[in-house]
């Protein structure tokens, strides 16, 4: 089972993932906001800067839509990895959307874990008892190191 956590002040549900971008040869760990309303995972500009992604290397501009209107994103092949409490590593290959920076954005906007991965898990969301767990129904690869 995978375990997430809740922000103490914000109450927002998060889970950590190691993300690898094979073409860019960049990897790092980020916290992702669990968002069942997001069709796909999306990496926000602050996390891109933190990982050291070179914006000039990104491709595939496409608009995505949220409550604030449309935003330009890039698409980059990525592998997302999660560790469960039995020490297994579950990996997912997905084209990750990367939000282009824009002056109107809040810099602290969290990156999102969307339904491209959440739909492959069963989630228990119980903020009263601070339980956020995910049973993995499928993964592209599962390893027991």
């Amino acid at each position: 089972m995978l375990k997430g956590s809740f922000g103490k002040a914000s109450g927002r549900p998060f889970i950590e993932s190691k993300i690898d971008f094979p073409r860019l040869q960049i990897s790092g760990t980020v916290k992702l906001l669990v968002d069942t309303g997001a069709d796909n995972c999306i990496l926000m500009p602050a996390d891109c800067d933190m990982l050291g992604i070179d914006w000039s290397q990104l491709r595939g501009g496409q608009n995505v839509f949220g409550v604030g209107g449309s935003s330009k994103t890039y698409r980059e092949p990525a592998v997302l990895m999660f560790e469960d409490d039995d020490n297994r590593l579950h990996s997912y290959s997905t084209p990750l959307a990367i939000m282009a920076p824009a002056p109107t954005q809040l810099p602290q906007m969290p990156s999102l874990l969307g339904r491209d991965i959440l739909s492959r898990w069963k989630m228990t969301y119980d903020p009263i008892f601070e339980i956020l767990t995910f049973e993995v129904h499928s993964a592209d690869q599962t390893l027991q190191p």
Binding site: K8, K18, T29, D49, M50, L89, S91, S138, Q141
Partner: protein, 97 residues
């Protein structure tokens, strides 16, 4: 669910690399996240409206902008991509995503 291509399978293997090392990085990051969550009230008071970098269960750097924090992290030699970076939002900005 679409079957993965050979290239995607190869990319997963390469992304994982040494699985023990990947697990170690995830656990270190989670430990630093736990430090952030269990000290959030104090950190909000100590670093209001600042970006902070947590590594080895310590605040290693703080700055008023993310770019300044990234420079400070580089000066300290912190491993890029394995540091918990957080904006201490004292206004508790509401997000509708």
């Amino acid at each position: 669910m679409a079957r993965l291509t050979e290239q995607q399978l190869r990319e997963i293997d390469e992304a994982i690399g040494d699985p023990k090392e990947t697990v170690r990085q995830l656990r270190e990051y989670r430990r630093d996240m736990e430090f952030l969550l269990s000290n959030e009230d104090r950190l909000l008071k100590d670093y209001p409206k600042q970006w902070i970098a947590i590594y080895d269960s310590e605040v290693k750097a703080a700055a008023e902008s993310l770019q300044s924090l990234l420079v400070a992290m580089a000066d300290l030699g912190l491993p890029k991509g394995n540091v918990v970076v957080q904006f201490m939002d004292t206004e508790q900005t509401k997000l509708i995503l």
